[in-house]
């Protein structure tokens, strides 16, 4: 059971990144590729927050009712991930607008038909 406790969060994050990477490399529909980019974003954010976790720690927020001497988890990865989530959605929006323009120009979203884009 402690084996699960040690590794399952990291394994889940890495599996999510690998599934997203598979979608970016292999799929030929442009929207599938963008979905893969979104999955990679979610996996990396999950990994960053997982590295800041301290066993039996609480959220880094003081309150009047709680005692002052409690162990708190690391707040720096949470601050980084807060910014990264908003940047991730803005990158997805820009990528989707480019996909819409490509569709209007080529009539298809298949990357094999759009010339010189897929290897």
């Amino acid at each position: 059971m402690t084996f699960l406790y040690d590794y399952v969060h990291y394994a889940g994050c890495f599996a999510l990144v690998l599934i997203g990477l598979y979608a970016v490399l292999v799929k030929t529909n442009l929207i599938k590729v963008i979905i893969g980019i979104g999955l990679i974003d979610t996996g990396v954010n999950l990994f960053l927050v997982t590295t800041g976790y301290i066993r039996a720690g609480t959220a880094p927020i003081f309150s009047e009712a709680a005692a002052q001497g409690e162990t708190m988890v690391d707040p720096v990865p949470q601050a980084l991930v807060l910014t990264a989530i908003v940047i991730g959605v803005s990158v997805l929006a820009l990528a989707l607008s480019l996909a819409i323009r490509l569709y209007r120009h080529y009539g298809t979203l298949d990357l094999r038909k759009i010339k010189e884009l897929k290897w």
Binding site: Y10, V26, V86, L94, S97
Partner: protein
């Protein structure tokens, strides 16, 4: 051929991750806290947790890290969001199309009335989330996203009601200006950009923690109006 090479690349990555996974601990134990003067290297996580309340006055440590200790990174993030929204508007400018849903039956009366009723309530909740960002979980990004969800509800449910684009771009520009001007005032007063020049106040009160509430309110307006403008552009603005 492509699939084979992709699978080989993935196999190499999996092997590397598996080797590094063996030596990464999960949930390390917290050591004893020592003041920074007695050690060579500072662990910034523990430093912010132990000294954050006295130095910034905000009880939400993540807020004091995002806006206080790492305020310049937040300014960079706001810039990236602005560039993405501008790029999207420029790319989709010539792709004018009829708005989503204008060629089918409009929403029924129940949906229309429900959306009209819910819109100010969602705005109120989003305002509560970002105004109390330095006391409870929440803040500018979360509150701005909730406000953008209210705009999305209006676009989807109310018949033919569009957002006012001039008001959105005016709100976005003014809030970005407020952020930079607050930093410049800190530069003039104290000699450092984004210096905390307002009094700290007592913790747990609404008017405390220096300029952190002001900056977070500006960030909330900027994020909310920018995400609302992105959704408005993507759903097909007329003309």
């Amino acid at each position: 051929m492509r699939k084979l090479i992709s699978l080989v690349v993935l196999l190499v990555i999996v092997t590397g991750i598996g080797v590094s996974l063996v030596v990464t601990p999960f949930g390390a134990e917290e050591a004893e806290w020592e003041p920074p003067s007695r050690r060579e290297r500072v662990n910034f996580g523990r430093y912010y947790v132990h000294e954050g309340l006295e130095e910034t006055g905000a009880t939400n440590i993540v807020t004091s890290v995002v806006v206080g200790y790492r305020g310049l990174d937040t300014l960079g993030e706001v810039t990236v969001l602005f560039i993405a929204a501008t790029g999207l508007a420029a790319v989709l400018h010539a792709a004018a199309k009829k708005p989503v849903g204008s060629d089918r039956k409009p929403a029924s009366l129940v949906v229309f009335t429900g959306c009209r009723f819910l819109f100010p309530l969602i705005l109120l909740f989003g305002t509560y989330v970002f105004v109390h960002g330095h006391l409870t979980p929440g803040g500018g990004f979360q509150g701005g996203a909730v406000v953008a969800s209210a705009f999305l509800l209006v676009i989807l449910g109310c018949r033919g009601r569009r957002l006012n684009e001039e008001t959105l771009s005016l709100a976005e520009s003014l809030s970005g200006l407020v952020f930079v001007v607050a930093g410049l005032i800190g530069l003039v007063v104290g000699g450092a950009f984004l210096l905390d020049f307002l009094p700290r106040g007592t913790p747990y009160l609404l008017f405390s923690a220096g300029i952190i509430p002001i900056i977070y309110i500006a960030i909330a307006f900027k994020v909310g109006s920018e995400l609302g403008a992105i959704i408005d552009k993507l759903s097909g603005s007329p003309g």
